[in-house]
């Protein structure tokens, strides 16, 4: 099981396109990538979950950890997600109130609601 992670710049944001399943096995890879971005000075991060088939509590933990890191630098962490099965995970855990969730990368990087 592989997790695809591609990073690109959209305006002033670093966008991480995630592909595959985020679980207890793959989440550390996402954590490392997000820590690397922040340590390189990318404090406005968009995590694109449109290519994600599965997300669990370890994936949520990684995203919360990354949010804390960017907030420590007055940055932002936004998500892109339109899949009901993934959105459901955020709703059940109350994290829709914590993460700005957008329907496209452009919307997320543009800061539109």
């Amino acid at each position: 099981m592989e997790l695809g992670l591609d990073v690109r710049k959209v305006d002033s944001h670093s966008v991480v396109d995630v592909k595959g399943e985020i679980d207890v096995y793959t989440a550390p890879k996402l954590r490392e990538k997000l820590i690397e971005l922040v340590s390189e000075g990318s404090y406005n991060v968009v995590v694109n979950l449109e290519g994600v088939d599965f997300l669990d509590s370890t994936g949520l933990g990684v995203l919360v950890g990354a949010l804390k890191r960017v907030k420590a630098h007055d940055g932002s962490l936004s998500l892109v997600c339109t899949q009901d099965k993934i959105l459901k995970i955020f709703k059940i855990t109350g994290l829709t109130k914590v993460f700005p969730i957008h329907s496209s990368v452009n919307e997320a990087a543009g800061g539109a609601a």
């Binding site: 099981m1 679980d23 207890v24 669990d56 509590s57 919360v64 099965k85 995970i89 855990t93 914590v98």
Partner: protein, 132 residues
């Protein structure tokens, strides 16, 4: 049916594959199959992590039992029950991973229990109603 996996994170995905197939065969619709996969995956993840914390290298035992009106999935580990582990939010108000995991389990299963196992550890029992 019973599956035993080594207590490593790499094997939880294999359980998801097996459970997805079993749930589909049992007649659940795709949305419910997905929810069952998530719930069983969470239970296995908690088992893998708690075994690790407890220093146990014992296999994680997973059983799948089909009854007329429900399915019972049991996951056995050698660690502490989620109900006995820290649940307080951090200074910024964020809940620990395990609290999010239990929230997902409570929402996605029709009945959830954590019971002590003979010899130590926890048996997590997930019941999925066929009607629900």
């Amino acid at each position: 049916m019973e599956i035993a996996i080594p207590p490593g994170s790499a094997y939880v995905g294999i359980v998801r594959l097996a459970v997805g197939s079993l749930a589909r065969s049992a007649g659940f619709d795709e949305e419910r199959v997905d929810e069952i996969r998530i719930a069983v995956s969470e239970a296995c993840t908690n088992a893998v992590l708690t075994n690790d914390e407890a220093g146990s290298a014992e296999a994680i035992a997973i059983s799948w039992r089909e009854e007329s009106d429900h399915i019972v999935v049991e996951v056995g580990d050698r660690g502490a029950s989620p109900e006995q582990q820290p649940s307080a939010a951090d200074s910024q108000g964020f809940a620990p991973r395990l609290v999010m995991s239990v929230a997902l389990l409570r929402e996605l299963v029709d009945d959830l229990s954590f019971d002590p196992r003979p010899g130590g550890g926890t048996l997590t029992r997930l019941t999925f109603s066929r009607a629900g």
